[in-house]
């Protein structure tokens, strides 16, 4: 088989049978291996200095093949938990006791959660690679190969992260995606801002990665295994979960409760949650396809995946998931407030990504894992779409991203598809009824009112208000940039440093001849991708109707995965997680009517949250859009309502913002969080670093140099003897001999 030849020493370990995991067919190994192969081929194109679009086609075809295989895997393996070992990786043993045998194969664990993730990762990666083939066209040559090499390597790492059958392989993928993210953010390595952003992303991620590393180590120390199958089936873990369910949470050892805390830190770092979110907005310095794929759709959802995958481990602590929910909500609100005041459209989308990731974490924390994972999927589509639209604008207007300098793109010839794509993305992000974003966001918000305790209903209100803010800032972009009078100025930022001179000449030429800037409309590849993604973003809503009794397709998928928390209301059955929260509520016994089943449900102002949330969140969303229209809309059909904007830079919001005093300015400056971190972390570390440097130079170097200087000083003392006069040497030799003889004579007599 061709596919098998890709795999080094394919051995299905005999231990598979013992793991209670079915055997997956060998060809699933090709899903991660094809991108790796493509990465290798793209390296070769760089070595052979290929000056065509070959790297893009290698990438697109290998990723498409990977996607097709994933679809095949979905068709054949759906609902099962299977595994396959590509080759042995770590098999270390230093004793017979528990925790003395480290087994981590290069193997893959395929369950529904894996399939969901791999479907949208490979699918979106294919589409975005196609988009990038045109977007990066100005860099054809070494840069092009470099870009697609890192792109493929990213998909490989992401596949390792998602498909790995043990925490060690997940960690490998985790670091791999971090590396590729670093490489791609710093793609324009001649631009200082891009280099700084890449460094920032890497360093902030290190903090989270350390948490994950500690979490993995603790898991091994405590449970004696890093393999999912063994971990989830271990009697120890089952015992803890049962203890928590029966109200004996105190019996769970502290170390087991610490594991989710450290895993959480890892997830917060990678998924840009408060307080580690600061790297993601800066990561927008990378090329837009990268922002769309890595920093919006896939890599940043790795944290969500980690928690969803390790749900059983999170359940052993009574407060791990509530913390996740709180942090997620805080992030969602904070990022939304910042997003409202930004002027760079790509940056607005970045903050919106942080905010939406906050929703996902809130959903996970509130045991709405179905909603969270559904939101991951819908968000992946519509946010990739939004980013790619922003990228098309940036590409066409020489790097212009300031919404005060662009207006009326809808009316420019050739930009209609971008504008429509943007509209679709904005509608989804705002949660307008019957869009996919509407259903997924609602599931999370509704769940916050359903699950009582831990202040979740307060979080629900915060999330609702944030949804309104999201709608506002999303449509602020749309009303400012895509409708209204046609006004635009080109940006001064250029796509690549290599091309800079040529482009500058071009611009000068344009100015010199008095001709004004012509935006170049996106070509066939970009438009195809935008159209496809628009359709997908709309169609994703249908997933909700696939099996409504289980909260949609995602619910039916998650039912048989580690993230299962579905509780069928009709049957009154409660998953382990829900039971846990019910018990927690019983213990204080203050909620009088909190007894099993229906009564354990919270309510939204006296109504069943699942039923009314559609209307409530729709109202918040539409309200946000209306405010955006009023404050930023162009003078239009109903000029009284739909704003009074007549140029690009000025709108009704300017006068309103003045009434808020310095608050909008603070929000525009990101609440000075970066400055705060700079003050409390970066500066002290910088000072400390210089202090250590000084100590190193004075003390350590001084000591070493002292030993170097001593012989020299000694030599300096003896130097005069080396006079260069032959006779004096002879004389001193004779004299020395005489003295020696004298001593011998004196001593011997």
């Amino acid at each position: 088989m061709l596919l098998e030849s890709l795999v080094l020493s394919p051995t299905i370990a005999a231990a598979d049978a013992a793991r209670a995991v079915g055997a997956a067919p060998m060809w699933v190994i090709a899903i991660p291996m094809l991108p790796l192969l493509a990465a290798a081929l793209n390296t070769l194109t760089a070595i052979f200095k290929v000056k065509t679009k070959l790297p893009a086609w290698i990438t697109v075809f290998s990723l498409a093949a990977s996607f097709v295989l994933t679809v095949m895997a979905y068709m054949t393996l759906r609902g099962e938990t299977t595994g396959v070992v590509a080759w042995d990786w770590f098999d270390l043993s230093w004793g017979d006791g528990q925790g003395q045998h480290l087994l981590a194969n290069f193997g893959f664990y395929i369950d529904n959660l894996t399939l969901i993730w791999m479907l949208f990762v490979t699918g979106l990666a294919t589409l975005i690679a196609l988009y990038a083939s045109e977007y990066m066209a100005h860099d054809v040559g070494a840069g092009y190969s470099r870009f697609f090499m890192a792109f493929c390597l990213f998909v490989f790492s992401m596949a390792c992260l998602v498909m790995g059958d043990n925490l060690l392989l997940l960690y490998l993928g985790w670091e791999g995606v971090g590396l590729c993210s670093y490489l791609l953010i710093g793609y324009f390595y001649k631009k200082p801002a891009a280099v700084a952003a890449a460094k920032k992303a890497f360093i902030v991620n290190r903090i989270g990665d350390l948490g994950l590393a500690i979490g993995v180590m603790l898991t091994f120390v405590h449970f004696g295994t890093v393999e999912y199958a063994e971990l989830f089936n271990s009697a120890q873990l089952q015992g803890y979960i049962e203890a928590v369910q029966t109200g004996h949470a105190g019996e769970v050892p502290l170390m087991a409760q610490l594991i989710p805390v450290f895993l959480m830190i890892g997830a917060f770092g990678k998924s840009a949650q408060f307080p580690l979110y600061v790297w993601l907005p800066d990561a927008m310095e990378g090329p837009t396809p990268v922002s769309a794929l890595i920093h919006a759709a896939t890599m940043v959802t790795a944290g969500v995946y980690l928690i969803a995958r390790m749900y059983p481990v999170f359940l052993v602590s009574a407060w791990a998931l509530p913390v996740v929910a709180w942090i997620g909500t805080i992030t969602a609100l904070l990022a939304a407030t910042i997003g409202m005041a930004q002027f760079d459209i790509k940056r607005i989308m970045a903050y919106s990504t942080v905010s939406q990731l906050g929703y996902m974490f809130a959903g996970l924390g509130m045991l709405a894992s179905t909603g969270a994972v559904f939101h991951v999927i819908t968000h992946a589509f519509f946010k990739a779409l939004l980013f790619l639209c922003c990228g098309a604008v940036m590409h066409g207007f020489a790097g212009q991203l300031d919404l005060r300098r662009l207006s009326g793109l809808w009316h420019i010839k050739g930009w209609r598809i971008v504008a429509v794509g943007m509209l679709v993305g904005c509608l989804n992000l705002s949660g307008v009824p019957f869009t996919s974003g509407f259903f997924s966001k609602d599931m999370i918000i509704a769940e916050s009112f359903v699950t009582p305790g831990y202040g979740f209903s307060l979080l629900g209100w915060v999330l609702l208000i944030t949804a309104g803010m999201t709608a506002y800032y999303t449509f602020r972009v749309f009303y400012r940039v895509f409708v209204g009078p046609v006004v635009y100025e080109p940006g001064d930022e250029l796509h690549s440093a290599e091309e800079e001179e040529a482009h500058e000449e071009e611009l000068e030429h344009e100015h010199a001849t008095g001709g004004h800037f012509h935006p170049h409309a996106p070509g066939i590849a970009i438009n195809t991708v935008l159209a496809t993604l628009s359709v997908l973003a709309i169609v994703a809503a249908l997933l909700y109707f696939v099996s409504p009794e289980k909260h949609g397709w995602v619910g039916s998928m998650l039912e048989s995965s580690t993230a299962a928390t579905i509780h069928s209301e009709a049957a009154g059955e409660h998953g382990p997680a829900v039971a846990m929260f019910t018990i927690q509520e019983h213990a204080p016994a203050s909620h009088g009517e909190a007894h099993a089943g229906e009564a354990a449900h919270g309510s939204f102002l006296g109504y069943n949250p699942h039923e009314v949330m559609f209307y409530v969140s729709a109202i918040f969303g539409l309200l946000g859009i209306a405010i955006a229209a009023w404050a930023h809309g162009p003078r239009g059909i109903a000029s009284g309502f739909l704003g009074n904007r007549t140029d690009a830079a000025h709108c009704r919001m300017d006068t309103i913002a003045k009434r808020f005093g310095p608050i909008p300015r603070w929000a525009e400056n990101k609440w000075y969080v970066d400055e705060f971190y700079n003050f409390i972390l970066v500066r002290p570390l910088w000072v400390l670093g210089h202090l250590f440097h000084a100590i190193d130079r004075l003390l350590v170097d001084g000591l070493v140099n002292l030993f170097g200087v001593l012989p020299r000083l000694l030599g300096r003392g003896a130097q005069p003897a080396q006079s260069g006069i032959l006779h004096s040497y002879a004389l001193s030799m004779a004299g020395g001999l005489g003295v020696l003889l004298l001593i011998i004579v004196v001593v011997t007599h």
Binding site: A721, G724, L726, A734
Partner: protein
């Protein structure tokens, strides 16, 4: 002082004792040393070292005879051989050094002074 008269020392030699030989040797050595230190001509300096060599040779032969052992004499033959070889090389060196600076003055060679 050393006991200079020894049993077994041949009568024929009359009043000559080890002392005389050693004196000759010492005088020769000192002459060589003084010559080496005071003269600047490379060839003369070289000859002076040869003289010191021979002085030590005399001492060795004298002791060899005194103790009725052949080791000293054997050693002297070796010294003479080495000295011959060394003389050939040293003179060649002197020629080369002369070609460099067109002088036999040893004090011009002071490149390695500290």
């Amino acid at each position: 002082m050393l006991v200079l008269a020894q049993s077994g020392f041949p009568e024929v030699m009359g009043g000559l004792t080890l002392y005389h030989y050693l004196m000759v040797s010492a005088v020769m050595f000192c002459l060589g040393l003084i010559g080496f230190v005071t003269r600047r001509n490379l060839i003369v300096m070289f000859l002076c070292t040869e003289m010191m060599f021979q002085a030590s040779g005399i001492a060795l032969v004298a002791f060899s005879r005194f103790y009725l052992e052949t080791t000293g004499q054997v050693f002297v033959i070796f010294v003479l051989t080495v000295a011959a070889a060394e003389a050939a090389m040293a003179l060649a060196l002197v020629v080369l050094l002369f070609r460099r600076h067109e002088t036999l003055d040893g004090s011009v060679w002071s490149v390695l002074k500290g």
